[in-house]
Every structure is written in C-alpha cells, then in structure tokens.
C-alpha cells in the first residue's frame, strides 16, 4: 500500500502555512488584549478568571485532538488508507501539548481559587489520564521499530483508549462524588457574561489556528519522512 497522495496537495499546504501563521499571531494578539485588558474581571473570582481564556481553549482542543486521533484511527481500520494514520500520528503530539498546558494552567488557576496547586477534581484527574493516553500513543510509535507494525498497533490502542475515555470520565465522576468534599467550587459557572465570551472565543479561535498550523506542518514532516524512506529503499535496492 503506497501513499497515494500527490506531492502537489502538500505544496498547497505549504503555501497556506504563512497565511495560517499570520492569522494565528494576529488573533493571539487581539485575543490577549481582550483577555488581559479589554474585559472586566469576574465579580466572584476577580482577575484569576483571566487564566480561563488560555485554559479552556487548551482543554477543548486537547479533547478534540483525541477525538480526531481516534476517529482517524477507526477510519484507517476500515479503509486501510495510510493517510489517516499520518493524520493520527501528526495530531498526537499537538494534543499532548494542549493537554499539558490545560493541566498546568488549571493548577495555576487552582492556587488562588482553591488555595492549593492540585485538587483531585474529576476534570483534572481525567485530563491527567488523557495525557497518559497521549503519551502511550506517542511512545508506542517510538518503541516499535517496524513502522508498519507500529501503525497497526498504535491504531488499535488509540481506539481502545477512545472507548476508555468515557469510562474513565464516568468512573472518575463516580469516585469524585464519593470522596470530594462539596465545599470546592466547580469550574463551570452557570452563566457566563457576554463580555467574557468574546475573549474566550477569540482565544479559542487563535488556538485552533495554531493547532491547524502545527497540524499541517507535522503532516508535511510525516509525508516527507515516508518519501525519504521510500527513496532510500529505491537507492539501496
């Protein structure tokens, strides 16, 4: 099974990359302005609310990346088109980075709000487990030297991990209701003021642009790598 994608498709990606980079930078600047100065502080949490504008988008895109990963692995299982494996392989590190950012900013937000750096809150705990799922996927690619085998195995594990995500979420919620003292305030507030939605959405958009940029760059790296290995084979045969 050869990668049936022409080089020209990836040249299109190459041409779009500068545009994406500019869009990312501009929307991050606008978003940061709104997030840090252009919006009022929350009337309960005060200025620590501003951490949410980087924390929440990271958590969203971390979860979305895992869904993309698992869905593309599933499609790969059905169609056996290696392109979907490349998608999964290139999005995994970005998702892991977003998960890490969500974890770190979450615990920074926790310090002024809860008074401690880490609470065994259901969301934080399941995010931590998600991070391990990402790590397992990435390490598996490195541990198996036969790339064809690695793609099959990691796709299977990504799918099993995807089945496991709701189970982990459910079990951690269950565990949390048993052990958590009720005094700690939850992350989600019932209603978000419109003035907070604007910076949140701009930052989310900027992070998404960043994700797409990184994704296209990594996709190109993977594609070039597979071309290199095929060329090497041609030369040494």
């Amino acid at each position: 099974m050869y990668l049936k994608l022409k080089k020209s498709y990836f040249d299109v990606l190459d041409r779009f990359t500068p545009f994406l980079i500019i869009m990312t930078i501009v929307s991050f600047i606008i978003g940061s302005y709104f997030a840090l100065y252009g919006s009022p502080p929350d009337y309960i949490q005060g200025d620590s609310m501003r951490i949410m504008y980087v924390h929440v988008p990271s958590a969203w895109w971390a979860l979305m990346s895992y869904s993309v990963l698992a869905v593309s692995c599933t499609i790969w299982f059905i169609t056996r088109n290696p392109f979907f494996n490349l998608i999964a392989k290139s999005i995994a590190p970005i998702g892991a980075v977003f998960t890490l950012i969500a974890l770190v900013t979450g615990s920074i937000w926790g310090k002024p709000t809860w008074g401690v750096w880490w609470v065994w809150d259901a969301r934080l705990t399941s995010m931590l487990l998600l991070f391990f799922l990402y790590l397992a996927y990435i390490f598996l690619w490195q541990a198996i030297s036969n790339k064809d085998l690695a793609s099959k195995i990691s796709a299977a594990l990504a799918m099993i991990g995807f089945i496991n995500v709701p189970i982990i979420k459910f079990s951690v919620d269950w565990w949390n209701t048993l052990h958590q003292p009720a005094s700690i305030s939850k992350l989600s507030s019932p209603s978000i003021d419109e003035s907070m939605l604007i910076p949140l959405f701009i930052m989310a958009f900027a992070s998404l642009c960043f994700l797409i940029t990184m994704f296209s760059v990594r996709l190109r790296i993977e594609f070039i790598e597979s071309r290199i290995s095929r060329l090497r084979q041609k030369i040494y045969d």
């Binding site: 487990l129 391990f132 598996l140 198996i144 299977a156 099993i160 496991n164 189970i167 982990i168």
Partner: protein, 210 residues
C-alpha cells in the same frame, strides 16, 4: 476443551518449574503488606483504613510486574510460534492465558487475604465485600493486561511503556473495586473488557504470527 486444558496445564507447569509460582506471588503480597506498618505506624485504626488500598495497589503491581509473562516470554523464545501453529483457535489460546495467569498471580492474594487481614484486626464480615470485588476486579485487570501484552509484543523490552499503556486502563477497575457497593458496575466493566480483550488480543497475536 482438551486444547484449553492443555494450554492451562502448560502454563501452570512453567509456573511450577520456575520461580514464578504461587509461593512467589504470595510472598510478594505479604512483603508489601508487611512494609505498610513501617510507613504509617502501628495505629491499628489507621492501618485498617489503609489495608483496602494496599490490597489494590499490590494486585495492580503484580499485574504490571508479571505483564511480560503473559505472552512476551513465549514470544521471545519462539514457543508462541509453536503454540500458534499447533492450535487452530486463537480464542482458546487467549482464554487459557486468562485462566492460567489469573490462577498464578491473583488467586494467591485472594486466598491469603483473610489471613493477612488478621494482622490488621479485621473480621471476616469486613473483608468479605473486598474479597468479592477483588475476585471480579482482578479478572477484569487480567483481561486488560492480556491484550496490552499481546499488542505490545513487538515493542522493545520496556516495562515502562507497557506500564504507561496499562495503568490508565486499570484506573476504572481500581475506582469501582475500592467501593464495596459497586460490584455490579465492576461485573459490567469486566465483561466489557473481556469482549474487547478477546478481539484485541487475537488481533495482536495475528499480527505477530506474521
């Protein structure tokens, strides 16, 4: 049923011939449990609370430490090839592994648990719910460990990688296992992981047969 019996017999024989037999796992548990009072002090009230956690920690550890014995040791010396060519049905090979592995590594803990609980001044009525959860939960954990082992056969000998893959998958079992009233969920979870495990392990073995 003959192939199933044969394969279980073979695994049990290997366990008895080598040092990895029942005595080994049982003494491993006893050692971990004995370490605990040195850390937390001899206050029996506190120890009684911790005891349940120790049991689950030690069973997860034993599942993790013996992970490579499920398929990897057979794969490494070539016995897996022999088994795969002599037995037509992968599912029987996998089921035999479940039973043999559970009997060797989890059954000793369950058997000695009532005696160990005497050290912590627990009565049988205290220990009975833990025991039921332990039986169901350890079976589910063995199912998960089997497919992780089957899928990572081609990876280099890295117990850390296998641990990173395995531990997040074991978390739900530990959460529901520790709660004495959630045994129905534990049964559902174990049955689900049985179904997934049969498919995933067969997939893994088929890949490495190649």
């Amino acid at each position: 049923m003959k192939p199933l019996y044969d394969l279980i017999n073979r695994d049990l024989k290997i366990a008895f011939f080598t040092s990895s037999n029942f005595l080994f796992t049982a003494s491993f548990f006893i050692l971990i449990v004995v370490l605990i009072p040195f850390i937390f002090g001899s206050d029996s009230e506190q120890l009684r609370i911790i005891f349940k956690g120790i049991i689950w920690i030690s069973i997860s550890l034993s599942i993790l430490l013996t992970l490579e014995r499920i398929f990897y040791s057979d794969y490494e010396d070539g016995s897996l090839d022999l088994i795969l060519q002599r037995y037509e049905s992968l599912e029987i090979i996998i089921c035999a592994k479940y039973i043999a592995h559970w009997v060797i590594n989890c059954l000793p803990l369950i058997v000695i648990l009532p005696f160990l609980s005497l050290l912590f001044q627990l009565t049988f009525s205290d220990i009975f719910p833990i025991l039921i959860n332990l039986v169901i939960g350890s079976m589910g954990m063995v199912f998960v460990a089997t497919f992780v082992s089957a899928l990572t056969l081609g990876a280099k000998r890295t117990i850390f990688l296998k641990g990173i893959i395995l531990i997040p998958l074991l978390v739900p079992f530990i959460i529901f296992g520790v709660d004495p009233h959630s045994w129905p969920i534990l049964i559902a979870l174990s049955m689900m992981s049985f179904v997934i495990s049969i498919y995933a392990s067969a997939y893994g073995l088929r890949l490495y047969g190649e």
